[in-house]
C-alpha cells in the first residue's frame, strides 16, 4: 500500500515533470537556463513577501517571477546586454529576498524548504493546484507550439508566416515564470532549473524532431521523478536532489547512446 504522502508527491511530481519536459525544451533551445535561474532565485523574494503579508507562497512567487519576466523582456527588447543584467537581477533578488526574510520576526522561515522544496509535505490542495497549473502550462505550450518553433528559428521567418517572435518569446517567459511559481514548493529554488534542463538535454540525444524531444523529456522527467521518490523513500534522502540525480543518470546514459540516424 502506498503512503498517502507518497501518492501526493508522486502526482505532483508527475505533473511538474510533464510541464517541465515540454517547457525545458525551449529553455535548452533558447539558452534560457540562466533566465530560469534568475526567476527561481527571485522566488525567494516572493516567498518572503508572501510571508510578510500573510499571503500564500504561490501568489508571492507568481507576483515576483512574472514581474521579473516582464522586466527582462522589456530590457531585452531595448537591446540591452541581458546576460549581465540577469546576473545582477538574479542575485539581487536572492539577496533582497533573504534580507526581507531575515527582517521578519516571529515567522519561521525555513530556508531549506525554499531552496530544496518539500514535495512530501504537499497537501491535497497543493497537489490539485500544481496539477491544474501544469495542465494550464502544457495547454498554452501545445496550442502555441508551431508558433514557438518558428519564433525560436528566426524572427523574420516567423514574421513571414504571421508570427511575432517577440510576442511568442514573452509568452514563453511568462509561462516559465508561472511554472517556477508552481514548482518552488515541491522542488525548491535551487533545483527547479535542473528539472527543466536535464530531462530536455537527455531527450535531445535520442530525438530527431522537436516534438520527439518534448515527449522524451516528459518521459525521462516522469521516470526520474518516480525513481527518485522511491529511492528517497527507502534510503531516507532529500527528495528533490534524489530526483535530479536520477535525471542526471538518464542524461549520462543518453550521452552514451548513438544519435538516431
Amino acid at each position: 500500500m502506498i503512503d498517502d504522502f507518497m501518492l501526493r508527491a508522486g502526482l505532483a511530481g508527475l505533473s511538474l515533470a510533464s510541464a517541465a519536459g515540454v517547457l525545458g525544451c525551449f529553455v535548452v533551445w533558447r539558452r534560457m537556463a540562466y533566465f530560469g535561474d534568475a526567476l527561481a532565485h527571485s522566488s525567494i523574494l516572493g516567498v518572503a513577501i508572501a510571508l510578510g503579508f500573510g499571503a500564500s507562497m504561490l501568489s508571492g512567487v507568481l507576483l515576483v517571477a512574472i514581474s521579473l519576466a516582464v522586466m527582462l523582456y522589456w530590457l531585452s527588447q531595448k537591446g540591452l546586454g541581458v546576460d549581465t543584467l540577469l546576473g545582477v537581477l538574479s542575485h539581487g533578488a536572492l539577496a533582497i529576498g533573504l534580507l526581507v526574510a531575515s527582517l521578519q520576526t516571529g515567522i519561521i522561515f525555513s530556508l531549506e524548504v525554499v531552496l530544496f522544496g518539500d514535495i512530501l509535505a504537499l497537501s491535497w490542495a497543493d497537489v490539485a493546484l500544481t496539477a491544474a497549473g501544469c495542465v494550464a502550462v502544457l495547454a498554452v505550450l501545445l496550442v502555441r507550439w508551431d508558433k514557438f518553433i518558428a519564433a525560436v528559428l528566426n524572427p523574420e521567418l516567423a514574421a513571414s508566416i504571421g508570427v511575432s517572435a517577440s510576442r511568442e518569446m514573452l509568452v514563453v517567459m511568462l509561462v516559465l515564470a508561472v511554472f517556477i511559481a508552481l514548482a518552488i514548493k515541491a522542488v525548491g529554488a535551487l533545483m527547479v532549473s535542473a528539472f527543466l534542463i536535464i530531462p530536455a538535454a537527455s531527450a535531445r540525444q535520442i530525438s530527431k524532431t522537436p516534438e520527439q524531444m518534448a515527449v522524451f523529456a516528459v518521459v525521462i522527467g516522469a521516470f526520474s521523478c518516480v525513481l527518485g521518490l522511491i529511492l528517497a523513500y527507502y534510503y531516507d534522502t532529500m527528495v528533490a536532489p534524489t530526483i535530479i540525480v536520477c535525471a542526471i543518470g538518464c542524461f549520462v546514459i543518453s550521452r552514451l547512446l548513438p544519435r538516431p540516424a
Binding site: 508551431d146 528566426n154 524572427p155 514574421a159 513571414s160 508566416i161 522537436p210
Partner: protein, 248 residues
C-alpha cells in the same frame, strides 16, 4: 501594382536612425537586389518588410493576401535543436511527401527528407530553407544574404536557380547581399543602400554610378562580366534611370 511598397520610411534603433527617406517597391516577377556595406541598413530593410521592425515615419503597404517566402541568413538550429528536413519543410504548412520531394528536387537537394538540419553544410541548408519558402507558393521570395559561405561559382549557381524559380513561379524576388558582382548581374534592379538609397537602377547603371563606386570602389566591372545577365528580353518595369542623391 506593387506587392510591397515603402514610402519615405524612417527606422531607428535607440534614437539612432539607420534608414531614412527610403522609397522602395517590389512588383510581381522582378528580381530586386539590395546591396550595401555592413551597417547600411540592408537587414533592417528586410525586417521592415516582414513586419519585425516598425517604422518611425513613412508607410509600409502590402497588397492584400501577399504570401511571403522568407529565406533567412541563418536559423537558430544548433546541436541542442533536433530538426529533420521533413519537419522543417512543414513550417507553417503541412505539405505531403510528394510536395516536399518536389521542392527539394527544384532546389537541387533531393532525397534529403530524413537528414538532420544541424548536420547540413551551408549550401545544403540554404537549399532546404529555399525549398521551405517555395512550398507556400510565395508572391514575394525574400532572401537575406543567401550566398554567404558559398564560393563564387556556388553563388552563381544559386542565383541561376533563383532566376529559374522566378520564371517558373512568377514570384518577385528581393535579395539582400554584399556579394556584389554575381548578385547584381542576376538582378533586374539593384538598390544601393547606405542608410538611404544612394542609387538604384539596372545592374549596368548602378555599377557605373559614382555613388556606387564611392561605396564599393572600382574594379567591379570586370567581375560583373564574369556572369553577364542576359538582358535581351524585356521586363514590364523600366527602371533605367539612376536616382542620385547627396552623400555626406
Amino acid at each position: 501594382m506593387a506587392l510591397i511598397e515603402l514610402k519615405n520610411a524612417r527606422v531607428s534603433y535607440d534614437q539612432k536612425i539607420v534608414l531614412d527617406k527610403v522609397n522602395f517597391s517590389v512588383s510581381r516577377g522582378e528580381i530586386v537586389t539590395i546591396v550595401g556595406p555592413n551597417g547600411s541598413g540592408k537587414s533592417t530593410l528586410l525586417k521592415v518588410m516582414t513586419g519585425v521592425k516598425e517604422l518611425d515615419a513613412g508607410s509600409l503597404s502590402t497588397a492584400p493576401k501577399v504570401r511571403l517566402g522568407y529565406v533567412p541568413q541563418k536559423i537558430a538550429i544548433d546541436d541542442a535543436f533536433p530538426m529533420t528536413v521533413r519537419r522543417f519543410l512543414k513550417i507553417p504548412f503541412s505539405p505531403n511527401r510528394k510536395v516536399m520531394e518536389e521542392a527539394l528536387v527544384t532546389v537541387g537537394f533531393p532525397n534529403s527528407l530524413d537528414r538532420q538540419i544541424g548536420e547540413l553544410s551551408g549550401g545544403q541548408l540554404q537549399r532546404v530553407m529555399l525549398a521551405r519558402a517555395i512550398i507556400g507558393s510565395p508572391d514575394v521570395l525574400m532572401l537575406d544574404e543567401p550566398t554567404q559561405g558559398l564560393d563564387q561559382s556556388g553563388a552563381a549557381d544559386f542565383y541561376q536557380m533563383i532566376e529559374t524559380l522566378r520564371e517558373e513561379m512568377g514570384c518577385a524576388v528581393v535579395m539582400v547581399s554584399h556579394d556584389l558582382h554575381v548578385v547584381m548581374s542576376a538582378s533586374d534592379r539593384v538598390i544601393c543602400l547606405n542608410g538611404h538609397i544612394c542609387c538604384e537602377g539596372t545592374p549596368a547603371v548602378v555599377s557605373t554610378a559614382p555613388e556606387y563606386r564611392a561605396l564599393f570602389g572600382r574594379g567591379t566591372k570586370g567581375a560583373l562580366a564574369l556572369y553577364q545577365h542576359d538582358h535581351d528580353h524585356t521586363h514590364e518595369h523600366g527602371h533605367e534611370h539612376s536616382e542620385l542623391c547627396d552623400h555626406e
